[in-house]
């Protein structure tokens, strides 16, 4: 497990967490990567549903799954399907909770407000920008050299050159363009997580 750490809920025992990891692994030894992948998917799911607390809701989902697992209540397979069922409940509850808290008059309160691009001009200070770039450099350096070269080669060109270059990389690696895109996407995901964790770590007092 790399940059992201496993979050342990106050109510979740180490044993329950371990059992959850094994259950998500489905007999494989993924060293937590199956958990992190599921958490990433859940965060994206809640985020696409315009939830501000997407991270918390993903953790809440996985905690409930872990508790159900401990109680021996899970009958739905495979694990991902059960996680999705619980995530839907968590989402519905969150929407209901917001309504009960009297937010009907301000429906966007718990949701994400539209942000036209004109407003999306990052107001980062020079220091924040430099910090992000330092993190990016550091995280790039942590990648395996072959992964780093592949990623930077993949993104170095634009427009027509880009397509030709990617075709050439795929040919060199003996894989299809689609397989190349998935491989690069994974490396990019790893790098993105690393940069996110690095920036968060630096912002902490």
């Amino acid at each position: 497990m790399s940059q992201e750490s496993l979050k342990e809920d106050r109510g979740l025992t180490q044993r329950a967490l371990q059992r959850l990891l094994e259950w998500l692994d489905q007999g494989m030894e993924s060293e937590g990567s199956a958990y992190l992948e599921m958490r990433r998917r859940l965060v994206s799911y809640f985020d696409r549903h315009q939830r501000r607390r997407a991270d918390d809701l993903a953790d809440e989902t996985l905690n409930r799954v872990a508790r159900a697992l401990e109680a021996g209540e899970i009958r739905i397979t495979p694990p991902a399907r059960y996680c999705y069922v619980i995530a839907r409940y968590v989402l519905l509850e969150e929407v209901r909770r917001e309504r009960l808290e009297g937010r009907l008059d301000a429906p966007d309160a718990g949701m994400l407000a539209p942000a036209p691009n004109r407003l999306f001009q990052r107001e980062d200070t020079q220091a924040v920008r430099e910090q992000r770039l330092e993190c990016l450099d550091g995280c790039l350096a942590e990648l395996r050299p072959d992964q780093r070269d592949l990623l930077l080669d993949y993104y170095r060109d634009e427009t027509r050159d880009k397509i030709e270059r990617r075709r050439e990389i795929a040919r060199r690696l003996g894989i299809s363009m689609n397989a190349l895109a998935i491989r690069v996407c994974r490396i990019r995901g790893t790098l993105e997580s690393c940069v996110g964790a690095c920036c968060q770590g630096r912002q902490k007092p």
Partner: protein
């Protein structure tokens, strides 16, 4: 991935997909490894297109109002910008120990040549417009051609499979006994293997069995996805299963016969490593004949 599927994924990410389809995508985004990977690639591509200024019209408007409404997604856009910058700086960095390139002097525009240059400048937009119109007309014509060709592919593929069978002296080797499940051994499609196997399926058969042959067996588990080649529709997916340990290793599948209408199909086989990460392994093609 097809253009149609690409467009659907983009619509989903921008929140413009019809609700019933979006619900289905919601579920797949959590439960289906291959779909989750495709979605992630599509999202990266969409962000990159925005960062490179390639989005236009309605897509750009939706991206700005819907996609960028989330701080998390705005972070992803910022990250994409920085990644591009890092990659570009690698491109722009001078290669080590290379001599300075000889830069030719800029062309000198003499006063006499100026009117010609100005006329050329005025002609460029008109020429561009003509080229664009020609491209649109060409595209419409090609779409009609494409539809016609698609309708012929199934028949041709079936005939091709018959010819190959005759050529190889394999006539009837796949014909199952009436009512029994058909078994078809498939080799990965590649430049060296352009054969398209033909499946003769008994109308009474409940299942059809497939052996997907592997060159090597590097993954503890595999999953196969069956796609209708002509419509690009995914129609069936296996569980995660191990390959046999025999030589050559084989991933054995059993597909419900009702899924297999006469047509042209492909299996995409994905392997999952011990780390949980999955990777495409091979593609297998076959045609189910109408006879």
């Amino acid at each position: 991935m097809t253009d149609h599927r690409d467009r659907e994924l983009v619509s989903y990410l921008l929140g413009t997909l019809p609700q019933d389809r979006a619900d289905a995508f919601d579920e797949l985004s959590v439960t289906d490894d291959a779909f989750a990977a495709q979605l992630r690639v599509a999202e990266d591509d969409l962000i990159d297109a925005f960062v490179c200024g390639e989005l236009t019209g309605e897509t750009l408007a939706q991206f700005e109002t819907a996609y960028l409404s989330s701080p998390r997604r705005r972070e992803r856009v910022t990250f994409a910008r920085e990644l591009r910058r890092a990659a570009r700086s690698k491109r722009d960095a001078p290669p080590p120990a290379m001599p300075e390139p000889i830069v030719p002097p800029p062309p000198v525009v003499t006063p006499a040549a100026r009117p010609v240059a100005m006329a050329m400048r005025a002609l460029v937009p008109a020429l561009l417009a003509i080229v664009c119109i020609a491209l649109v007309v060409d595209r419409v014509r090609m779409q009609g051609e494409l539809d016609r060709v698609r309708s012929e592919i199934t028949e041709l593929a079936s005939q091709f499979a018959d010819l190959l069978r005759l050529h190889n002296g394999m006539t009837g080797s796949n014909s199952p006994a009436p009512g029994s499940p058909a078994l078809l051994a498939l080799r990965p499609s590649s430049a060296a293997n352009l054969d398209i196997a033909r499946l003769d399926l008994d109308p009474a058969a409940v299942d059809s069995a497939f052996d997907l042959l592997l060159a090597s067996n590097p993954f503890p588990a595999y999953q196969a996805e069956l796609t209708d080649v002509l419509t690009s529709e995914r129609i069936w997916q296996s569980d995660w299963i191990a390959a046999t340990t025999a030589a050559p290793p084989v991933v054995a599948l059993r597909v419900p016969a009702r899924m297999l209408k006469p047509g042209f199909y492909s299996f995409v086989l994905v392997g999952r490593g011990a780390s949980g990460a999955s990777e495409p392994v091979a593609i297998y093609k076959f045609v189910r004949s109408a006879r």
